[in-house]
């Protein structure tokens, strides 16, 4: 459904130019969940933003259902793909109630029937009528992330872009949000592209996993292969070890 062909992103010009993403190509089938892992600066979030159309100067080809997207995105494409950001406190307007936040996309896309859509979206993410007129600061971190997901769902998109959706949350709340995402994917056949530095979180949601470093997609593997330690790239192996327990090799590296 989503197709990236040699996508590159450069920030800045001249000798200070930074190639944040270099020739990344990947395909995500309809209903598939694909994950990208890597450290900060690896370009994983930039890929997500390029797909979302938040980086208008991205080079290469990004297509949805075979149709190449222009750099300036048409409104309809935004309805197909929606994004959920890492920090729900930063991504929700502090002076707008949940109701206002959820109304905006309906108004922009002239969908009408706001009342029903808002209630449906709230129910979908496990929030009730009582949360509708609250401000973000009156909600817990988990509830805020639920609102952010409801905001993305209200346009009934076919794909969700998830940028570290649980890394700002406590373990018990993370489990709730991951369960919610799993259920939404199953019930709506949502396509997902998810970015995280936590391998276990990515492997919980995604089938295929891409490892990124220095703007490049090093390796495309699967959650199962990762779990069995069957990764070929040395960097992927290192990432795998670092994610499991304390890595004696890393300690030896520094203390040597």
């Amino acid at each position: 459904m989503i197709e990236l062909d040699r996508v590159s992103v450069t920030y800045g010009v001249g000798h200070t130019a930074l190639r944040a993403v270099q020739d990344v190509s990947l395909r995500i089938a309809s209903g598939e969940a694909l994950g990208l892992v890597g450290e900060s600066g690896s370009g994983k979030s930039t890929v997500l933003r390029a797909v979302a159309g938040l980086i208008p100067h991205a080079e290469g080809r990004i297509a949805i259902d075979g149709r190449v997207l222009p750099n300036r995105r048409p409104r309809e494409s935004r309805k197909i793909i929606q994004m959920v950001f890492q920090d729900p406190y930063g991504s929700l307007h502090p002076n707008q109630t949940v109701d206002q936040t959820l109304s905006a996309p309906i108004a922009i896309h002239r969908l009408g029937d706001a009342e029903r859509r808002i209630m449906a979206a709230l129910t979908e993410v496990g929030l009730g009528r009582e949360h509708r007129y609250r401000y973000p600061h009156q909600l817990s971190g988990g509830q805020r992330q639920r609102v952010a997901i409801a905001r993305a769902l209200i346009l009934e998109p076919r794909a969700l872009l998830l940028d570290e959706p649980t890394s700002a949350l406590d373990v018990s709340v993370q489990a709730e949000i991951l369960n919610l995402l799993t259920r939404l994917r199953r019930d709506h056949g949502l396509t997902m592209l998810m970015v995280s530095h936590d391998l276990a979180v990515i492997a919980h949601i995604c089938d295929r996993i891409g490892v990124m470093r220095g703007g490049r997609l090093l390796e495309m593997t699967t959650a199962a292969a990762m779990a069995e330690g069957r990764v070929s790239d040395p960097y992927s192996q290192q990432l795998l070890r670092a994610n499991q327990t304390l890595d004696p090799a890393a300690i030896a590296d520094v203390t040597a």
């Binding site: 450290e39 900060s40 489990a175 991951l178 799993t182 530095h197 492997a203 990762m226 290192q238 300690i251």
Partner: protein, 289 residues
Amino acid sequence: MTAPPLLEVRNLRVVYPGDDGDFRAVRNVSFSLGRERLGIVGESGSGKSTTGRAIMGLIPRPGRVEADAMRLGDADLTRLNERGFRRLRGKRIAMVMQDPKFSLDPVMTVGKQVAETHRYHFRSSWKAARTAALEMLEAVHIRDPERVYAQYPHQISGGMGQRVMIAMMLIAGPEILIADEPTSALDVSVQQQVLAIMDEMVRSRGMGLILISHNLRLVSSFCDRVLVMYAGQIVESCRANRLHAATHPYTRGLLTALPELGNRRAELPQLRRDPEWLADLPAQVGTAP
């Protein structure tokens, strides 16, 4: 334990007065710390950071710190005023916080910040303090200490910043280091390096370490002993390598709620909070190793 503990805390309470009565952020907390690595885990609001701050004398008014006993060697922490704490902090007990971006002074070179600690506690000259700071930067495996000394916090990476923080905290030779989520703002691979450096320093100097973290995996693989906090209390205490066999339903709930590589479950079990967990516990839970 045969040697007397470095730190002993008995029935620690931290109370914030509120409109509808006092809020007890920390209650019934007792533990002792020897030359070991002690982990404190819990979720946000469990009181783990507040416990660390109470030991450092960093609870702002109108918050109150009360304890039956809180001793750092021969020093009685319950009787100290702000001046007394200032003499202690850095010298005998030090704290590394989460994000070096916010804990380093942005308008002072990092080297000078490390040297300043030395000057304060040893009344040393800038020259002597500089030499000591450079040695300390080298000890935390900074390759080019001279260059880093002259850099400002925005010029160095997060991992480097956290090493500088560790250097600053250890330069006056404290007996105890409290690290509050020291690696949460860092990448996994850098996390490992920072932990390794911290571990090396604490071991070689025979210090006690309190690692405060929400990360169960990290704490269980790094520490010797773990205290689990919930709603201001220690609900469970065990050897770190036995954390997987924890018995309290809260700890069990946290462990099973973690997604696992290689064991994908259709649904992660969600934590059901039992109101019974809020009941006051006898204050001894944390003492037995």
